[in-house]
């Protein structure tokens, strides 16, 4: 098991994870789940960042920390927004939020 092979494997994996995240975002209707899929995408990217840092040094891993913190902030804001909209619509089904259209 040489490093290059492992790295490729990891990259592929992260790509797959990213794709799964995308798929989830596209097919799910529940706001929270969609949001979680986005988080999944971010983490997929983290994986590849870590992988690259094996090739290029420590920077990648540092970036990951930034990402994680940003993701946390996003989570906070996102959940707050979902909460806010729930107050009006009594649901988190994205299909329901169609007051703004056309």
């Amino acid at each position: 098991m040489n490093a290059g092979y492992l790295a490729d494997l990891a990259l592929v994996l992260s790509a797959v994870l990213f794709a799964i995240g995308v798929g989830g975002v596209l097919v799910r209707r529940n706001a929270i789940i969609v949001f979680m899929c986005v988080e999944l995408m971010l983490n997929a990217v983290n994986l590849s960042l870590v992988t690259f840092s094996r090739l290029h040094g420590i920077d990648g891993q540092i970036i990951v920390f930034f990402v994680i913190s940003v993701a946390a902030a996003e989570a906070a804001v996102g959940l707050a927004l979902i909460l806010a909209i729930f107050r009006h619509y009594e649901t988190v089904d994205l299909e329901a939020f169609r007051r703004l259209r056309w």
């Binding site: 995308v22 975002v25 969609v34 994205l94 299909e95 939020f97 259209r101 056309w102």
Partner: protein
Amino acid sequence: MNEAFQPILPGLILGLPLLGAVLNGIGAFAWRDSKTIPSLVGPLTVLAAFAIGVANLLAMRAVMPHEPALVPLWTWMRSGELDISVMLMFDQLSLLMTLVVTGVGGIIHVYSVGYMRDDPGYSRYFAYLNLFIFFMLILVLSANYPLMFVGWEGVGLCSYLLIGFWYENREYSDAGKKAFIVNRIGDFGFLVAMFLLFSTFGTLDMPAIFREAPERLLADGALVTAITLFLFLGCVGKSAQIPLYVWLPDAMAGPTPVSALIHAATMVTAGVYLVARSGVLFALAPVSQAVVASVGAATALLAATIALQQFDIKKVLAYSTISQLGYMFVAVGIGAYTAGIFHLMTHAFFKALLFLGAGAVIHAVHDAWAATGAHGDPNDMRNHGGLRRLMPVTGTTMWIGTLAIAGVIPFAGFFSKDEIIWQAGVRGYAVLWALALVVALLTAGYMTRLMVMTFHGENRSGEGAGSHLHEVGAVMWMPLAILAALSVVGGWVQIPDALPLPHVDLLHSWLEPVFEPALLVAAGVAGQHGEASHTAPLGGGEALWAALSTTLAVIVILLVYRGLAARRYRPAAEAAEPTGFRAVLYHKWYVDELYDRLVVRPLLALWRGCWRIVDDRIIDGTVNGLAGVARLAGWTGSQLQSGRVATYLLVFMIGALIILGSLAF
């Protein structure tokens, strides 16, 4: 003869009528009700112009110049090599025309004073009439074609205004419009001719053109033929020849003096004048000459036949005018310019006389009916009859006119018409010659019919009208008398020595310097119509045929008189529609109807189509269509904007995939 001729007060000849027009025009607004001012201004300005004309005539006789005297006034338009100035040209021809216009015009102005006495538009009427004289003078005195065109259309304008003078009558204003538009068709020809002339000669001044024409233009060439034919198209319009004559009969809607002045004596002869004036050009184009002559002959015949079956006294005279104009075109067409001008002059006299006489009759009947309160068409001869006793002066003078136009010796018409016929004969135009003879007899026929229906037999003007019918006032019959005199002696200015009469040669020698170049050219072009023989197509000399024609005319007159005097006409009201061939003639060979069906209606349909279909449907349709497409596209796009986040993300993803996919390529 070599010292130059200096025109006397040339500006004033034009200025006076214009002044009169302006004054009367102001009067039409300022002093509507005053009759005196127009009655003075109107005739006097014209007569003054006539006086100056006479003075010039005498001066010119003294000099007898060979070159026209040019009077440049100011530069009109100059651009590039085009240089047109407002310039008058005085030569024997233009002076003669000036005299005819101002003389006959002046007489008619005087007559109008009586005729229009009670008309509310009195001042306006004289304004138009003076304006007409002004433009007519420009027409005859202009030294270049564009300026002539000014007069040409100016007289058209005045005729339009005067035909529709009683504008509150729809037919009348229609008639005016018709006259103008039909004339415009002719003017189109005039314009094109001018363009051709300019592109050929680089100038539009007549003297220059006539001087250079022989060198620049290939005799009998396509160019000169085109030029002359386009010019002639103008004449056809203005002088009411086939196919554009239809406006003249309608033009009788105007007050009768107008018909006399514009539609008999002067304006309508402008075409003849133009051809004679451009003699050099026509001489270079035998084809065009042939066309001119034959159109003239055909018109003469057609109009004469129609005149036979008209009941409206003015219509008869109108068609007679058309027919006589035909004669003149025959003359100028065959190159007998002097003959044409000669007939133009005499015709001015007797036709004006006839019209004014008719006017007197109409006036009388009109007044009588005004008294009795009867209604009807005072122009309809079926409502006249037996006026000889009631209106002796009118009757007699009109008989003189009739004899003159019928070509009975020694009246004016005889000499001029005889000359035309004879020239046609000796120049070998057998057909024209024959036609001319026939038309002469027809003329005698319809004129006699007119006289008989109007002045002889029982009066048909209705109960009590007779007592009210009476001779018109002096101001109206004096002009008749003068014109009658002219209709007698008018022909004596040119008596061929062939006749057993004292030989007089005033006109030929007078006009000779003007037409000399044309004749020389003609002689040059000659060949087929070279030296004239001295016998008519059927043999026999001038004297014989003159005698023959005049006796035939007399015979016709007598026959018609015998035939009709007996006939019991019935007033228009209860008269029956003519039938058979008479109907065809009565309906003028249905030409108007034909034009309406073949030209007017199709055009109108086409025009509506252009508007409704091309403009509204096609062009605007395209534009609005594009707008619609844009809106539709926008609407579709907005529908995609459904408010569903899922859709947004999906589109996002598709876009992303396409972009990433672009790597593959």
